[in-house]
Symmetry: C2
Subunit: 140 residues, 2 copies
């Protein structure tokens, strides 16, 4: 079995179905020219964009607003060495239009942290890729 | 409760103890000037550096060899809105010295994919940071 065969690429619909299953993903971005990553709970809007809620003064907002980021979610099972991962890549923006904030307020997740004030960050699902690793017997 | 209080910073020892609990983390790097991320199983060497095994011809090797990357692992519980995440940041290198490859061959993980040939990638634990999110009651 070639190692390429162990992976199966997932189509956009499969990716979005899997993304909707998990509450937490990871924002991948650049901070001071170094790779940075932050796990955070999320939801998807009707267009499959990723929605986050965070503090308006957070480092995350300063680092990602207006920039292309990746958002990754996955699940795996160590016993069967199987799992999947999905990555959404696109520009992140703080939603500032009041009508849009109102429209998204039901869809956007509640923060897992108590926040005195919060903003919604949207990551546009420009590129959605995913792959599934089928279980293989242990080889070491 | 201020939202800052919801997080507790973890010291290096706590970070390494938590890292050792999970088999899979995520390499965070830059590809074609865009943020990229790849989940992969890993182990830690005696100096707490992250060890991965992958194909010598992989895109990952081309993208990370000689560059500073981040490596993230986490666990969370949606029911209690609690969890932790640990991030190791440092230069990644393919281990090429035969004596070093031999020395690390027991410690480096077996790939979850069958690989016709493999190399060990080491991410130096130059910076190890982590935080714990204590559970908070749901607020919406």
């Amino acid at each position: 079995m070639d190692h390429q065969d162990a992976f199966r690429a997932l189509d956009r619909q499969e990716c979005l179905r899997l993304l909707a299953k998990v509450p937490v993903g990871r924002v991948v971005y650049t901070r001071h020219a170094l790779p940075a990553v932050l796990p955070i709970n999320f939801s998807l809007d009707a267009d499959a964009n990723v929605l986050l809620r965070t503090s308006p003064n957070s480092e995350l907002v300063r680092a990602v607003d207006g920039f292309v980021v990746a958002f990754e979610a996955d699940e795996y099972d160590a016993a069967t060495r199987s799992g999947w991962s999905v990555i959404v890549t696109g520009p992140a923006t703080v939603v500032t239009d009041p009508a849009e904030v109102e429209r998204l307020s039901e869809t956007a997740p509640a923060s897992w942290m108590p926040l005195p004030e919060s903003v919604i960050v949207r990551i546009e699902a420009e590129l959605v890729t995913g792959r599934e690793l089928r279980g293989t017997p242990g080889n070491g």
